[in-house]
């Protein structure tokens, strides 16, 4: 664990230094974050302009889901997507060789190979939305509710990361996955809505196949105190199962790495 934290620290150091090389990116990313936050909120404002609740969710409660969604988007844009692009590039060019030659966990190294801290500016917007929603709800979460929502958010990050590792593993066989980021982004976009909004096939799909409920709805419910312990435990178990499956599949995918010819 100590070694993993040391490696993470070394990778984050490089990420920060690289970001500091390009100061303009910081300001551009900050402006873009504000813009995307407005875009994220727009559908919600339109929907709740015409009705008081949506699938049992009031506007401020749905804002909690948006808050977690925005926070998670910060993680996705700041760490997950850049690494996904980087690893697909590494596999195509054969430069994954250098990652695999290091005496460190290959999955950890590729998962932290390109972190863009400034793109994480979304996360600050997410925290602001969460605060605003709680004020509108006139609800002060108990310590237990706050802790449960944070734990479920970490499970959401683990789940998102695992889905990403599973997707990246395909790149060892298919090599060219230009549309992977877009596919990933499109599916993730549905997590801005409480999962009870979806019906039929989509409800099943977003609960069991791509469990978006775990990503944003459950942390929001935990903060409101409406999530049962049983559902919370199931969500955590789901995240652990996805994490272990992703690790197994990635290990198997590495065996199929063919490297690129020199």
């Amino acid at each position: 664990m100590r070694r993993a934290l040391q490696l993470l620290g070394a990778q984050l150091r490089v990420a920060a230094l690289t970001s500091l090389q390009y100061r303009a990116d910081f300001f551009a990313d900050g402006v873009m974050s504000l813009f995307w936050l407005a875009v994220t909120l727009a559908p919600l404002l339109i929907v709740f302009d015409r009705r008081p609740t949506l699938a049992g969710w009031t506007f401020p409660a749905a804002l909690l889901v948006i808050g977690w969604f925005t926070l998670l988007k910060g993680v996705l844009d700041g760490a997950v997507n850049p690494c996904l692009v980087a690893i697909v590039e590494h596999i195509r060019k054969g430069t994954l060789d250098f990652v695999l030659l290091k005496p460190a966990d290959a999955q950890l190294l590729v998962s932290t190979s390109r972190i863009l801290p400034w793109r994480g500016a979304d996360a600050l917007g997410g925290v602001a939305v969460l605060g605003f929603a709680l004020v509108k709800l006139r609800h002060l979460p108990t310590a237990g509710q706050a802790a449960a929502s944070v734990v479920l958010f970490l499970a959401a990050v683990a789940l998102l990361y695992s889905l990403w590792i599973l997707a990246v593993s395909i790149a060892f066989w298919v090599v060219k996955l230009d549309n992977l980021v877009y596919l990933f982004g499109s599916i993730f976009d549905a997590a801005r809505w409480p999962v009870s909004v979806f019906r039929g096939v989509f409800r099943f799909l977003f609960t069991f196949v791509v469990p978006l409920a775990i990503l944003t709805t459950y942390p929001a419910m935990a903060l409101l105190g409406t999530l049962t312990w049983r559902t919370g435990a199931l969500a955590l178990s789901g995240a652990v199962v996805f994490f272990l499956a992703a690790r197994l599949v990635f290990g198997e995918a590495l065996r199929h790495y063919t490297s690129a010819s020199s």
Partner: protein, 324 residues
């Protein structure tokens, strides 16, 4: 240090004729064929040796190096490097080897090379004092004083390769796999890197396995060469012995002070190359002494040199299947 026994790597590749119809057919059915990239090679290399691993493009050199450095799993066969099975990729093994590829780089493109050095210190878990000493030694040997603090993207190809070598050697590996490390470099930079590799090998006693298409690299660094072609071992032994076995003749190059008729020249032996004032004779080793005396006595010689055949010719013969 390195033992290889009947190592094989087979690839399944999809081939189809050009055109739209074959492309459409290939969506439904993909005929595949097996390519034997490495086809049952065996050899061993002692600690501290510098060995040239040679062959034409596509011979299987890089695939072999990648198996020996743990990047690729072989289809069959066994190998041990520094006592480890490479493709298990144990941390202790990876800490004892390095692979430098002339066509790929590990340096962080946007940052000065010293940031890559620092990252590698963390990744290899090198204690700070040890890292400082290794870095000082490599900076001195490679003359990196000012280069290490310049962003990598602003360095020339040769300067980047120097920094690559430094990054690859900071953990003081016992085995160096060098895959065309001098490719694309100018002549003086090639010479500088050769001198460095030799000095590093002599100082540290590290084993060096080198692939290169530049015969000057091989001549300067390797007494022993392992030659593979189409994945099969074609030769393993001394470079001088290979040259003697493949081309036993010496080349006697003569500069003439006046023109001589071609018919008169051919009396002194087979002519490998002939111009108005310069002739190169191919002379058997055992006849060399007598033939040189005859040439000096019979021709208007202004200058004379005796050379071994170029290594390029030796390898051309070998790959064409003449001898060896």
């Amino acid at each position: 240090m390195i033992q290889v026994e009947d190592l094989q790597k087979l690839y399944l590749v999809h081939r189809r004729p050009p055109g739209v119809w074959p492309a459409l057919k290939s969506v439904l059915r993909r005929p595949r064929e097996t390519v034997r990239a490495v086809d049952g090679i065996s050899f061993s290399i002692a600690p501290g040796e510098r060995v040239g691993f040679l062959g034409p493009n596509g011979a299987g050199k890089t695939t072999t190096l990648k198996m020996l450095s743990g990047l690729l799993h072989p289809t069959a066969g066994e190998a041990r490097v520094a006592g480890f099975i490479p493709w298990r990729r144990e941390a202790d093994f990876l800490g004892r080897i390095t692979l430098v590829m002339g066509q790929k780089q590990q340096l962080l493109w946007d940052l000065p090379a010293e940031e890559t050095f620092e990252l590698n210190r963390a990744l290899y878990g090198i204690p700070r004092a040890e890292h400082r000493a290794a870095l000082a030694e490599l900076v001195d040997l490679l003359d990196l004083g000012k280069l290490k603090s310049v962003p990598v993207r602003q360095l020339s190809l040769g300067e980047r390769m120097k920094c690559e070598l430094c990054a690859a050697l900071l953990h003081r590996p016992a085995v160096l796999f060098l895959d065309e490390p001098t490719i694309g470099l100018d002549v003086s930079m090639q010479a500088a890197l050769r001198a460095f590799i030799r000095a590093y090998n002599e100082r540290s006693g590290a084993t060096v396995v080198l692939t290169s298409h530049y015969m000057d690299d091989v001549l300067a660094l390797c007494r022993r060469v392992i030659v593979i072609d189409h994945g099969k071992l074609r030769y393993d032994g001394g470079l001088a012995e290979l040259a003697r076995a493949s081309r036993p003749e010496k080349l006697v190059a003569v500069r003439l002070s006046r023109r001589v008729a071609p018919a008169d020249l051919s009396r002194y032996g087979a002519i490998a190359e002939g111009r108005e004032d310069r002739v190169v004779f191919q002379v058997a080793q055992e006849a060399l002494r007598d033939r040189v005396a005859q040439i000096l006595a019979g021709l208007p010689v202004a200058d004379m040199t005796i050379e071994d055949p170029p290594l390029e010719d030796v390898f051309r013969d070998l790959f064409a299947g003449k001898k060896g």
